[in-house]
Amino acid sequence: MNKNVNLAVDIAGIKMQNPVATASGTFGFGNEYADYVDLSRLGALVVKGTTLHPRQGNPPPRIEETPCGILNAIGLQNPGIETVVNEILPHLQNKNVPVIVNISGDTPADYAKLAQKLNNSCAAGIEVNISCPNVKKGGLQFGSDPESAAEVAGAVKASTNLPVIIKLSPNVSSIVKVAEKVARAGADALSMINTLLGMKIDINTMRPSLGNNFGGLSGPAVKPVAVRSVWQVYREIDLPIIGIGGITTAEDALEFIMAGASVVAVGTGNFINPTATMDIIENLEKYLIDNDIADIKDLIGRAH
């Protein structure tokens, strides 16, 4: 493969050598996968959702398998922003990969504080999770209501010079409306989708299977909803998009890119194949060569 094709993309000022990132919460802080993945070959590393204070998360069981998908109810277990900024990010600096920190708060002020704390870190960008269905306060409400989504976006934007990516929830009547408001509030990019709110019932115990009752649905099952979301938002909103949801192969990644994503992120797919990101990068390159396409950017939004 020595033909010259260009996989590099740039999203809201974050330069990536290729359009393949990891989805927050599915790849830890990167090192967990270091036996399988050369982190320095990733387009970007989006790390676990971080909150102001350390969180224990939800009681187990936290994961359930569903047809071609999973439900998770982790509940944002994380060591808190201080530890992330002071202990974890510095170790990632020498990996030569842009690190995007995913943040979650209970109030717009929380989000603002989280963003501030990242200002002097080595983070390349901030992904704002306004849509985690696994926490009771905040979380879901922000993501489902265009106004509060915009409020959070504005608060983060006012507190940082880092690129701000707002992660949208699919659990809404119109994802375009939320995207519109968030764009006007100053978001630099959008990522979509977070998980669909779901539930599984254990017919033996006659109770919800997950410790938290509800969980977030992810994996191949949700791919059609994610592709549709990217397509809709790409048509209406002039912001770069990180496409997420059920991606396991380069073909899946191409669907998202043609629908309008500049970057794709792999989540549940890592669990099934720990080298999914590497395989996708390789096969995207091969696809460009085989189809005589010089630059992956030529494919963004091609299906419109």
């Binding site: 919460g25 599915t26 790849f27 830890g28 967990e32 996968y33 036996d35 399988y36 676990k48 224990q56 998360g57 009681p59 187990p60 069981p61 936290r62 994961i63 359930e64 398998e65 047809p67 071609c68 998908g69 999973i70 998770n72 982790i74 277990q77 994996g219 191949p220 396991t248 549940t268 890592n270 669990f271 099934i272 194949n273 720990p274 080298t275």
Partner: protein
């Protein structure tokens, strides 16, 4: 050893009892590098249904033949498909296995499919010229696993079944109770009620030990925080959720907080 992600040939399949199977993989690196208590995260089907990998312990290692085996219960859809495979897509070896350099006389307690990882442990103890007391329990003789193989290693096995169809009639924890004292190091794997009872008995009798736990898993590598169990961290004096896949699956018995 560093874990690998690889597809190994299945060179032997056996039906052990009505709902138990045994797979042997030709896997030189695993045979050389895996430790008792570690597990493999396996893909049971080439399709996306079922989607997730399944954690299965390493049951035995044949260093000379460069093979390893897995003993599994056909518990649900995933494990019931293992029969039909010729190759197995595996991540592993994963997790922290048993700590074999602990002080104390080893005492091994297994319940049901919990016997699976203990056989590998007992292979290693044999290799270290140790003969140990082993207690294996199950609901009935139909579910009593690995007993003859363990005897063949030279260990002393006592069996117990709930229905009395083999060995002592009653819980395996009854049979090992008299042996629990401050000089032993218990190695146990089995269903939660068994481990919970055993933990209580051990505490009363000041016996130390290590338990191998199970939880539903996503990644298997510590990234997703799905597979947690509640543990008490002595040094931090508080409860946290530990990941069975990388902080375990083997935990020190006193560390586990039972529901």
């Amino acid at each position: 050893m560093k874990p690998v992600k690889k597809t190994f040939d299945i060179i032997e399949k056996k039906q052990i009892k009505p709902c138990y199977g045994l797979l042997k993989l030709y896997a030189p690196e695993l045979a050389a590098g895996a430790k008792p208590g570690q597990f493999l995260h396996v893909k049971c089907s080439g399709t996306m249904d079922p989607l997730l990998r399944r954690p299965i312990s390493i049951h035995a290692v044949q260093r000379s033949g460069k093979t390893i085996s897995m003993l599994y219960r056909k518990a649900g859809r995933g494990t019931s498909m293992l029969d039909s495979l010729d190759k197995l897509d595996v991540m592993g070896p994963l997790g922290h296995g048993f700590n074999m350099s602990c002080s104390g006389t080893p005492l091994v307690v297994g319940g049901g499919i919990g016997a699976a990882p203990l056989y590998f442990l007992l292979q290693e103890l044999s290799g270290m010229q140790m003969q140990v007391d082993v207690f294996i329990g199950a609901s009935s003789s139909e579910h009593l696993l690995a007993v003859e193989d363990i005897k063949a290693l030279g260990h002393c096995v006592r069996t117990a079944t709930d229905d009395g169809s083999a060995g002592y009639r009653g819980p395996v924890t009854d049979t090992c109770l008299p042996y629990l004292n401050k000089d032993v190091q218990v190695f146990a794997c089995g269903p939660v009620p068994m481990l919970k009872k055993l933990a209580g008995d051990m505490e009363e009798n000041k016996a130390a030990g290590q338990f191998s736990l199970e939880e539903k898993m996503g990644c298997g590598v510590g990234a997703c925080l799905s597979c947690v169990c509640k543990t008490y961290q002595e040094k931090e004096k508080e409860y946290t959720y530990s990941r069975v896949c990388v902080d375990g699956p083997v935990f020190s018995a006193g560390e586990v907080v039972w529901k």
